[in-house]
């Protein structure tokens, strides 16, 4: 028995939900970023799975989108971590519940 497309999609949905769990329950800024990275990895898994299971004429579109998505999430991680360091210099903490200067 070979794994079907459904199984890949369910694994990807589980990975996405765990990333969402990390982004929603954690209070540490870096771990919210880690949760977002896990959600992006789940989305990339979906792209590759749909590309692999597509019917015969196989344009490499899914692979291309996955490559661009990896590049963009690398840029997002770099800017996000730089922002964490900049905010830490200012507030001396990385707990997002304490970044409340703009709170009304």
């Amino acid at each position: 028995m070979t794994p079907t497309l459904q199984l890949f999609l369910i694994i990807s949905a589980a990975l996405f939900s765990i990333g969402l769990l990390a982004a929603l329950t954690r209070r540490h800024a870096i771990f919210i970023l880690i949760g977002i990275e896990m959600m992006l990895a789940a989305a990339n898994l979906n792209f590759i799975a749909f590309w692999r299971f597509a019917p015969p004429p196989h344009p490499p579109t899914g692979v291309m989108i996955a490559i661009f998505s990896i590049a963009i999430s690398a840029a997002e991680a770099a800017v996000g971590l730089a922002m964490v360091i900049a905010v830490y210099r200012h507030y001396r903490t990385t707990n997002v519940s304490q970044f409340d200067q703009l709170k009304g």
Binding site: L24, I30, Y88
Partner: protein, 160 residues
């Protein structure tokens, strides 16, 4: 496609993801992220997208994971353990997982086995990138340059 390999990789990936999402020790949780990404890269290998899997390992396990560990080491004064736990987030994540799984299982056209496919070589990927995807490629290059400069500007020391 091997079902035993699929089972082993999925168990390892989801266990590492749960560990990264719930472990109290920040360093242990951060070191679980490379494990998750190696698992996702193994799924890519299993699906026949070797180049993307290699790119994922190089970019994430090589660069982003090291960057995350360095950032934790630079900002660890203050909170050593992650405080607080929010049941609301658990409920929302479970609801999202339930909804997605239900809709995937309801769609019967998704239960298909993979068709036979010619191997996607790096040469083919390079030709496609250089012909049909030139504009996106240039835009991503510009975006990466802007992100690099922006990250440097953000962390530069302010002159008093």
């Amino acid at each position: 496609m091997n079902s035993i390999a699929f089972l082993v990789i999925s168990v390892l990936t989801l266990a590492a993801a749960l560990a990264a999402a719930t472990l109290r020790n920040l360093m242990h949780a951060a070191l679980c992220l490379p494990l998750v990404l190696v698992g996702v890269a193994s799924f890519f290998f299993l699906l026949g997208a070797e180049f993307v899997g290699l790119a994922l390992v190089f970019i994430y396990v090589g660069a982003v994971a090291v960057l995350i560990v360095f950032t934790i080491l630079l900002t660890r004064r203050g909170v050593e353990k992650d405080p607080g736990f929010h049941w609301m987030g658990v409920i929302i994540a479970l609801a999202v997982f339930g909804g997605l799984t239900w809709s995937i299982l309801q769609t019967h056209s998704l239960s298909i086995v993979p068709p036979h496919i010619r191997a996607l070589t790096v040469r083919k990927i390079g030709e496609t990138l250089m012909t049909g995807y030139v504009w996106p490629l240039q835009c991503v290059g510009l975006l990466l340059t802007a992100a690099l400069i922006g990250a440097l500007v953000l962390v530069m020391e302010e002159k008093r």
